[in-house]
């Protein structure tokens, strides 16, 4: 979907490729990666809609000339840091309060299959 080009001066840019290439298989793959179950009808409908969205966004790349640097933040700010000072954390009860299940002070999650520790 994108292409990374990095040079040694520390300038990097992510540029979108022309996007008419978004196909049904791409959408199916993204859905699988995002753990979204999609029916065949969903895929047919969404690949058309998503392609239209991506094409519209790609127009921005057409207007931006070489003099416009790629950017990930619209506001020219940088170096917003925090001093390395401890702040109170949540109590264990509070931390676990939103968990569907908990055990021994830990979040309990379903068995993990097909992936590694």
């Amino acid at each position: 979907m994108g292409e990374i080009d990095t040079n040694r001066r520390g300038v990097a840019a992510t540029r979108l490729l022309p996007m008419s290439s978004l196909e049904r298989a791409d959408v199916a793959r993204l859905a699988a990666l995002a753990r979204i179950d999609m029916t065949d009808e969903d895929l047919d409908r969404l690949s058309g809609q998503l392609a239209a969205i991506v094409d519209s966004v790609a127009k921005v790349a057409e207007v931006a000339g070489q003099d416009v640097p790629a950017t990930s933040h619209p506001i020219p700010m940088s170096n917003v840091h925090r001093a390395d000072e401890v702040r109170p954390s949540l109590a264990q009860d509070a931390a676990l309060s939103g968990a569907p299940e908990a055990e021994d002070g830990r979040f309990r999650v379903p068995q993990i299959l097909g992936e590694e520790a």
């Binding site: 700010m77 170096n79 840091h81 702040r87 002070g105 830990r106 520790a117």
Partner: protein, 505 residues
């Protein structure tokens, strides 16, 4: 298919390897929130909306972590990018509450470095560094039910205390030309990284606790024909062995993977590009997920964090704080201390170098400092199964103890008792000597009384001495030492005996 030995594999193939080292930083707080970064707390007590990934929580970078990453990068000879940014690495696994890890991707803070690694025989091997970037650690899963492993577990429990702890990941370039010394170079490289992070004081560098963790990539390619350029031969398919967490395991993992891959290749079978799990007990690896299906992390710039743009002044200021390269420091100390190669290597392997250095700085002679740390204290640490630095004794204590020996207040034997007291928490060496009454008896009248008593008890020995058999005095010295519970100065006792017998020593 027959397994080859590492040596056989190295005779037939040219190895190419790479190492990723994760260094856990010792900052007070996490990478993007103010939760404490401390090992061993009750589960889920060092967590907050940011590191639990609760909706609306916003991360803010820890300035100290950025500083540590830059100092590490500079120590690895890296360039420091004028503007770097964070990225989201998306994947689903319950050790990540957010379903993405904040890392760096196309703009790592440190890039293009190189590190000189000194092998045991003094040969220097230069390792190219691709990048060193900042990221956050994940939480800890405990698998329940089944066999306790991930396969067949019924469910998992997650503790997010470690989630969000700052990490620096150091990635080498592909390393070629090490040949049969590949395992040794890999080990020395990780040892050097560990030494550097400890010298920088940005991590405790303890591999056994996971503060320094390594992933080892290895591939084999055919050896170039005589006169041909080895570098012109394309790389083979590589495996990536995850979480190899001791120096010895790094060597073993490379031995195992080289043998395994060579066996496959010679049998005409392909090496699969995949991640593999390391098994410490058997010294072998087993396949994890295969690369092509799992590694689609859909990185994109992290919108919640602003770019890191360290000023050149700050970078130069940090460069000024860098400690000596560990290899150079070792060479210098060896020279200054007059240690043999073996002394030095043993001290390095026992992690005793800085302890000895601090003991010397506190006033002890280098050989005395070495004797304590590598002798009595190394034995105690071994018995208690802790690191030397964890013993409840400081370099200043050791220097004080040796000072008492040098001043003649105690002898070596009493010093060992005093040290025992220090290790038992009874106070400083001086305090233990006082409270246990360990001082050498240097009061002549007390010694004379003890000698007289011993001579009276063994009149035959006295006769022998007077007959000129001076060595017979040893029996009396022994008796006096026993009577004074080892607290007498043996040399002085001997003088008194000879005096009493009317014989000149």
């Amino acid at each position: 298919m027959k397994a080859l030995t590492y040596e056989q594999a190295m005779e037939q193939f040219d190895p190419v390897f790479g190492i990723e080292v994760h260094v856990e930083l010792n900052t007070a707080t996490k990478m993007f929130c103010g939760c404490a970064n401390e090992f061993g707390a009750e589960p889920n007590t060092q967590v907050c909306p940011v590191c639990l990934g609760l909706p609306g929580a916003m991360p803010v970078t820890n300035e100290k972590a950025v500083e540590s990453a830059i100092r590490l990068g500079l120590s690895l000879g890296c360039e420091i990018r004028e503007s770097s940014r964070f990225a989201r690495k998306n994947y689903f696994y319950p050790d990540l509450a957010k379903d993405y890890q904040i890392s760096q991707y196309d703009e790592p803070t440190c890039f293009e470095g190189s590190l000189d690694v000194v092998l045991d025989d003094g040969e220097v091997f230069t390792v190219g560094i691709e990048r060193a970037h900042m990221e956050e650690d994940a939480g800890k899963n405990t698998h329940k039910g089944g066999t306790g492993g991930i396969q067949g577990a019924d469910y998992s429990l997650v503790d997010y205390n470690r989630g969000g702890v700052p990490l620096v990941e150091i990635v080498t370039k592909p390393i070629t030309g090490a040949g049969a010394r590949t395992a040794e170079v890999a080990r020395a490289y990780v040892a050097t990284i560990r030494d550097i992070v400890k010298a920088l004081d940005i991590s405790d560098g303890r591999m056994e606790q996971g503060s320094v963790r390594a992933d080892v990539n290895l591939s084999l390619r055919p050896k170039a024909a005589a006169g041909e350029d080895q570098d012109a031969v394309p790389f083979g398919k590589r495996s990536e062995t995850k979480n190899v967490n001791s120096l010895r395991a790094i060597e073993r993992a490379i031995h195992h993977e080289a043998s395994r891959q060579a066996g496959l290749l010679l049998a005409g079978k392909p090496v699969v590009q995949e991640t593999r799990h390391w098994h410490e007990d058997t010294g072998s690896t087993t396949p994890g997920r295969s690369k092509e299906e799992a590694e689609d992390y859909r990185y994109f710039p992290e919108p919640d964090l602003l770019p890191v743009e360290p000023s050149r002044e700050w970078v130069e200021e940090l460069r000024g704080t860098l400690p000596e390269h560990p290899a150079k420091m070792r060479a210098r100390l060896k020279e200054e201390w007059g240690f043999s190669d073996t002394d030095m290597r043993d001290a390095v392997n026992a992690d005793a170098l800085s302890l000895i250095a601090d003991t010397v700085a506190a006033g002890a002679a280098p050989q005395s400092a070495r004797k304590w740390w590598m002798g009595e204290l190394a034995r105690t640490a071994n018995d208690r199964e802790v690191a030397l630095a964890e013993l409840p004794v400081t370099p200043a204590d050791v220097a004080e103890l040796q000072g008492l020996v040098d001043a003649g207040t105690i002898n070596d034997k009493l010093a060992r008792q005093a040290l025992e007291g220090v290790l038992a928490g009874e106070g400083s060496p001086r305090e233990v000597v006082e409270s246990r009454g360990l001082e050498v008896v240097s009061d002549d009248s007390a010694l004379e009384a003890a000698v007289d008593e011993a001579l009276a008890a063994q009149p035959d020995v006295l006769a022998k001495i007077q007959d000129g058999k001076v060595q017979a005095a040893g029996a009396i010295v022994g008796a006096v030492m026993k009577a004074t519970r080892g607290q007498a100065d043996a040399g002085r006792v001997r003088e008194i005996i000879l005096q009493r017998a009317g014989v000149e020593g």
